[in-house]
Symmetry: C2
Subunit: 186 residues, 2 copies
């Protein structure tokens, strides 16, 4: 499992509290790994037990205290080893595809509506990614070493969303092609 590693990666990027992490897992790292705050707090305890992260309690005025977590030397070592271990393709569970697969069970406009609904969701997400690209990666010829890697993950997201839009287009077109040459009962 690699929620542990997703958290380590996030902490290496920037030391954070559990609360901060929960927010980051709702953006940036969260674009390719999701976790709720409950998962995160539990995992942070485990990571502390393993000695992969260190905690420092930060007292705050007019705010609850927070624990700031940083990746330890051991944790960084573990991360490096994990990155070097080849991994499999991520598994997908795509509800929309399950629906489309059984699309013949419902009136065609039901499926078309659902595809259009998803087109809008993917459009919005694409726009979100493009905004990040414009804000943080506008000078693409001069990316710092670390930025290159983060930019690549963003590019993956942009591509994915764009490709979804293309598929939606293709799908609506195919569904509206006249169904020629069916051996219809006469």
């Amino acid at each position: 499992m690699s929620l542990a590693h997703a958290i380590l990666v996030s902490l290496v990027d920037c030391p954070s509290s559990g609360y901060d992490l929960a927010k980051k897992f709702d953006g940036s790292v969260g674009f390719f790994w999701q976790a709720t705050h409950q998962q995160i707090y539990r995992e942070l305890h485990r990571l502390q037990d393993k000695g992969w992260i260190d905690a420092e309690v930060i007292a705050q005025e007019s705010r609850p205290d927070k624990k700031l977590f940083t990746v330890s030397g051991l944790g960084k070592q573990e991360l490096q080893q994990w990155i070097a271990r080849p991994c499999e393709i991520n598994v997908t569970k795509d509800e929309l595809m399950v629906k489309v697969f059984a699309g013949h069970l419902v009136p065609q406009d039901v499926i078309e509506q659902e595809i259009n609904h998803h087109r809008k969701l993917h459009e919005a997400r694409l726009q979100e990614y493009l905004d990040i690209e414009a804000r943080f990666f506008s000078d693409r010829a001069n990316l710092r070493h670390e930025q290159k890697f983060q930019y690549l993950t963003l590019r993956r997201g942009i591509r994915l969303e764009q490709d979804w839009l293309d598929w939606c287009q293709e799908a609506i077109e195919l569904l509206n092609e006249p169904t020629t040459a069916i051996a219809a009962p006469q």
Copy 2:
């Protein structure tokens, strides 16, 4: 949750035993929904309790008996309602992206190797999909109504794999661009 629905969709397509389903979830429906045989058997019991599927025991010679499951009227109704309920974008958990995000922690060739490894995996999967396209959907102008929908899911897969290959290409290129204009310490 929709393992239940993935199973219903699979059964509507073709009445099957738990064992058959487990195999199907290793191909066809399994390209966008995965489940082990244990999950499937458990879910089949639940679906039977709900009355969404009917079981018929088939005695076989020289083989263990098997239970053949078919979707009941109630199950079909439920499926239709489920398809009509708008759903969210599927969540992704992409280990490779987590690794790439923290790519600066390891020597560059480690990341390049991992990207190349994934390029090969996606190439193989693309080929698998293209074979299915050639075998079952060669006559694309004359698809039956149901086939259109299944073809669309295949197209989604083909696009996804192709897009992965394009990203891998792009990634390797970006990583090998000379890092110009870094304010390097002199």
